[in-house]
């Protein structure tokens, strides 16, 4: 294998204009990066906790067990190869999220109701 890969870390690699050098490296036998998600207890969502390198999903799972759950941090693990995660661009955060800011009527506290209705 002698192809050159540009690596993406859960969408985290600096953009060309981000002031950093784009990292390209020869894909030797270095293992891909995986993101790790843990369900801390039954009934809760899986939450992102970090990342690690592993040759395949099975190894990623085993490594995640060793690296991220040494103290009963979870009851279930997800591992996802980082390149499959697409992240929103921070520069577009305004367009994406600001429209919600002026819609305060979407929150229950927007409505003034008399005391009598009690706990609505």
């Amino acid at each position: 294998m002698n192809n050159y890969l540009r690596k993406f870390y859960y969408g985290d690699i600096p953009e060309d204009k981000a002031g950093g050098n784009i990292v390209s490296s020869e894909a030797k036998s270095d293992w891909p990066l995986w993101e790790v998600f843990i369900r801390s207890k039954q009934g809760l969502d899986h939450k992102h906790v970090g990342s690690l390198h592993a040759a395949d999903a099975q190894m990623a799972m085993e490594n995640a067990r060793d690296v991220y759950t040494r103290r009963m941090e979870g009851v279930s693990l997800w591992v996802v190869e980082s390149k499959y995660i697409h992240a929103s661009n921070p520069e577009e955060a305004g367009e994406l999220f600001e429209p919600a800011a002026d819609k305060i009527y979407r929150h229950p506290t927007f409505y003034d109701l008399p005391e009598e209705v009690n706990q609505m």
Binding site: K7, A18, G20, D30, A87
Partner: protein, 312 residues
């Protein structure tokens, strides 16, 4: 957007305590400083496994052996959290490790001192991990998000390290004369190198000022060192041991302990690679890396083969 607009947004975030995340624009120097600091922190965790690992086979009881294995495994975990955080800054794991092996990247000088007796494992927990915690608690509030998150996880685990170390010393301090002497000897040898862990005086530290401005660091080297001395000067009384510093004395006016001057020649000498174990530590890391190469390749080949089998 113009670079200087981006820089303004970046500085506003820092001022408003908004964390910088990997995809955000950041000044090149901020990125480089973080790469340097996070990678050196990671290397310290990994190299730090060596002096302690040396005592796993010689731990005095099964309980102590199990504890020490757990602790050394934690250090490996801490190294991995930090290497991952470092990679989000756009450097590969391999580059980072190459920098360690070539000597370009440093690790904490403390690990260039030998562990001569079992009491050293106690002293490392109490003093070395104690000093590290001072620094790490501060770093949970560092401005770079992935670094801060890694530090939160590390701090949760680190306090067991310090407590088990102190307990080792406490048991020795109540033991035979020989055990007491062993305890004092370990404190004597680890005290000054632990103070050196906080780095040069603020007036001498080239990285300090900018790092404070960017909120990568939140307290100066000297502030942290003072906190550490104040803490240890009290704790050592519980052990009934003596800190090897004639100038250590409570100063009512400052409400801090005064203490003697560090031997900076020794500090720089060890940083430059001439400490008692620099060569041994690096050789051990390189050996592990080189001898692990076939494993890394075999695992990759195995994964490839399994993928093909699945596809067929």
């Amino acid at each position: 957007m113009q670079t200087h607009d981006l820089e303004k947004i970046f500085e506003q975030k820092i001022d408003n305590e908004i964390k910088i995340e990997p995809k955000d624009w950041m000044p090149e120097a901020y990125r480089k400083t973080n790469i340097r600091q996070v990678s050196q922190h990671a290397h310290s965790e990994i190299v730090g496994m060596l002096p302690e690992g040396a005592w796993i086979s010689r731990a005095p009881s099964l309980k102590r052996k199990a504890i020490l294995i757990a602790k050394v495994q934690d250090e490996a975990g801490h190294g991995l959290y930090l290497y991952s955080a470092c990679e989000t800054l756009g450097i590969t794991r391999e580059e980072t490790i190459n920098d360690l092996h070539s000597g370009k990247a440093k690790y904490s000088s403390i690990f260039n001192y030998p562990t001569k007796s079992w009491a050293d494992i106690g002293a490392i927990g109490w003093l070395v991990d104690g000093a590290a915690i001072m620094n790490q608690v501060m770093l949970t509030r560092t401005s770079y998000g992935p670094y801060a998150r890694a530090m939160v996880r590390i701090c949760k685990e680190e306090s067991f390290h310090q407590r088990q170390g102190f307990e080792i010393l406490l048991v020795l301090s109540k033991g035979t004369d020989e055990q007491k002497a062993m305890c004092q000897d370990a404190v004597d040898r680890w005290w000054w190198p632990s103070l050196m862990m906080f780095g040069p005086h603020d007036s001498e530290s080239t990285n300090s000022e900018q790092s404070m401005k960017w909120k990568i660091k939140r307290k100066t080297n000297d502030e942290l060192r003072q906190n550490f001395v104040d803490m240890c000067a009290e704790q050592v009384k519980v052990l009934g041991m003596k800190i090897p510093d004639d100038k250590l004395k409570w100063n009512e006016e400052r409400m801090h302990y005064d203490f003697g001057e560090i031997n900076w020649d020794e500090f720089w000498n060890v940083v430059k690679g001439n400490g008692p174990c620099n060569k041994e530590r690096l050789d051990a890391r390189k050996k592990a890396w080189d001898e692990g190469e076939w494993v890394r390749e075999a695992a990759a080949a195995h994964a490839e083969k399994r993928k093909k089998r699945k596809a067929a």
